[in-house]
Amino acid sequence: MGNEAAAFGAIHAGVNVVAGYPGTPSTEILETVAKNNDGSIHVEWSVNEKAAMEVAAGAAYSGARALVTMKQVGLNVAADPLMSLSYVGVKGGMVVVSADDPGPISSQTEQDTRTFAMFSKLPVFDPSSPEEAYQMMKDAFELSEKIGSPVLFRPTTRVCHGCASVEISDSYDKNIPDGFVKDTQRWVIFPRTSFLNHQKIEKRNPELGKELSSYRFNTVTKRSGRKGIAAGGISWAYLNEVLTRIPEAKDVSLFRVGTPFPFPEKAALEFLDGLDEVLCLEELDPVIERALIYTAGKYHLGVTIHGKHDGCVRTAGENSPESVLSDVGSFLAVKIPESRKLPEKPETPVRPPVLCAGCPHRASFYAVKQAMKGKKAVFCGDIGCYTLGNAAPLDMVDTCLCMGADVTIAQGIKAVDKDTTAFSFIGDSTFFASGITGVVNAVYNKNDIILIVLDNSTTAMTGHQPHPGTGITMMDFFEKKKEGIREDIANKVSIEQILKGIGVEFVETVDPFDQKKAVETVKKAADLSGVRAIIFKAPCIALEKPKALYEVDADRCKSCHKCINEIGCPAISMKDGKAFIERTLCYGCSLCEQVCPFDAISQKGGAL
């Protein structure tokens, strides 16, 4: 997997410290380092991306090679330290991985880390395959050390989650940090030094662009025709695939950009020389396209650059071999042979992602829904599996913006919409990442919200990473995981204690599968004012084996559809006019049993 390749690249480059926050599609990089750690690398899931960036910066100040991993929206959280770090610089190599998600497949935005590279004035590496993710990682560390600055590394989903045969080196670089050396001129950021460093950076980057023009992953292939195609990232792979299918493309010059910033201008000039028209293929922002337009203008070249700006390439979403085939076909005015037209397809049911059968979030949402029936309420959601609580029939997520925003958006809504009850739903990992400040804000300003912490003892959506509430760390996670979640870990951070410490007076912990008690607790909280908190605590189903499964007694089932229309469990459907529980999906959570008004659902036998 590309993420594993990037991790091995870092290990082989002698990385000393690795910090990150889980986020699709970046998560497996840090996990792979942890799994293959001989104990010499400090690996941690930091509490959020900003913390990770700062831990890594401290390590790099001290001469260590440091790696930070996150997804693109995580880079926004870490933007504050990163922007300043760009001015201050580092001593040991520091590589910041920010994985982009064109589509987006599993993200809130389609932002482009290459644009962030320009904004922060930091070099960025853009691998187009898992192989390159491995090879470029070492280059990134070397460049970082050479220029004394962090560098960005941005793979996209198809590189991160693509598998390939990758040859890896047997030899490791060994980097022994010499420790932190005091130097206030260097490590304390002041306006005067920032002014001086800003000048240096603006001088450095164009020179670096020239130097990077001969980098092995910035390549120019000159051919006889007057047309050229420029591409970067996974689009370069699609382009090569497509070129094998279009014989007319044999005269087309090619420019592949592996470091979009600083732009390899010298290589670009070589590519543009003698061309009339160029097509740019890239996902997300038109970074290469704009740089080529800039270069063409700067040198008064008579070449037309096509791409996103003139509608030749789609402006949003993922590229694919088909989209690139069609774009290249139009650019070269080649007719692509049509494939067989299949008759109209039968209607297929839409299948959006849903909360798993047995998910405790379903029970929590349902309890709040029952308690607030007929009352005015707003449900602010957040990032995680529980965003899926928005789907019918639960329909319990009215807003979702970014990590931690549920807590504060609820406060803003309540400030305006005074007769509503404002709920905020936050997961345990998100609470630690960026929920706590929002609760402090509410207590301090005497805002009026009901905070629902959905504590399933893991960071579920990204693949079950530990967090402060579990007490398990990445230094020991893979050993201890075998024993399951251990109750005896001493350094667990308690959400309940935090809330009480902040000054929340109403803090109750309830098992959401005890629906009666869960509903009563929500009603009790709704009758009070100020900041009230309920922690719904039940582990994610992925952490536990299925319990005894449930079955419908067809004779007792009155086909009322309540189990289907109320809770929307994917294990339940109608079969021959009666409710039916799919045994391969049921986890034995008991919610349907508690919802059925005719006692038609009961526990039966075990899982196969």
Partner: protein, 193 residues
């Protein structure tokens, strides 16, 4: 030789594991391999697709271009129809008989049961093998053998790039020992049945 294999199904059915088995077996045989998988939010009971390509030539794109897949391994009938544009005209389709009804369909009272989907596949492609995954799982005593049962169907077609014996080897090498017996049994049921 280049083989492009598309696997599709519902998140949680084991498509990712199945695609890894094909890719690793290809690599062990000295071939190049590329995959692209759905990981993350869509995995939660949503439609999932894995692309696998193995070849003795360099492979560029991890995604299979449409109308070029040699084999479609569908863990669910409607998902097969959803991905049908990837399959080449004389491609092989291995499809699990059992429909998985999504919550949206249950809520709308749709009568979806997969039969219409399977008929569509059979009407439009000449190499369609329907596998009764439920029955095989029952015979093997585990719901976890579904992915191997479908892979066995594909291997038996001769188009997977992995032979039936190769698949058995892969089971022994890549899967936990306690699952060997049931998975090998699933292969035998599919290939001998």
């Amino acid at each position: 030789m280049t083989k492009s294999i598309l696997l599709c199904g519902v998140g949680g059915q084991g498509t990712v594991k199945a695609s890894r088995i094909i890719a690793l077996s290809g690599m062990e045989a000295g071939l190049n391999a590329r995959t692209a998988e759905t990981i993350g939010m869509a995995q939660r009971g949503g439609s999932v697709v894995s692309h696998v390509r193995i070849s003795d030539q360099p492979i560029f794109s991890p995604l299979i271009p449409k109308h070029t897949a040699d084999v479609l391994i569908a863990f669910e009938p409607a998902e097969a129809v959803r991905c049908i544009d990837y399959v080449k005209d004389d491609g092989v389709i291995i499809v699990n008989k059992k429909a998985v009804t999504p919550v949206t369909a249950s809520l709308s009272g749709s009568s979806y049961d997969g039969t219409e989907a399977i008929k569509y596949l059979q009407d439009n492609f000449s190499h369609v093998k329907v596998i009764d995954g439920d029955a095989i799982c029952e015979k093997c005593g585990s719901d976890k053998v579904l992915n191997i049962a479908l892979l066995a169907g594909a291997a038996a077609s001769g188009e997977l790039g992995i032979t039936v014996d190769g698949l058995k080897d892969a089971i022994r090498k890549q899967l936990p020992q306690k699952t060997h017996e049931m998975n090998l049994k699933a292969v035998d049921i599919v290939t001998e049945g």
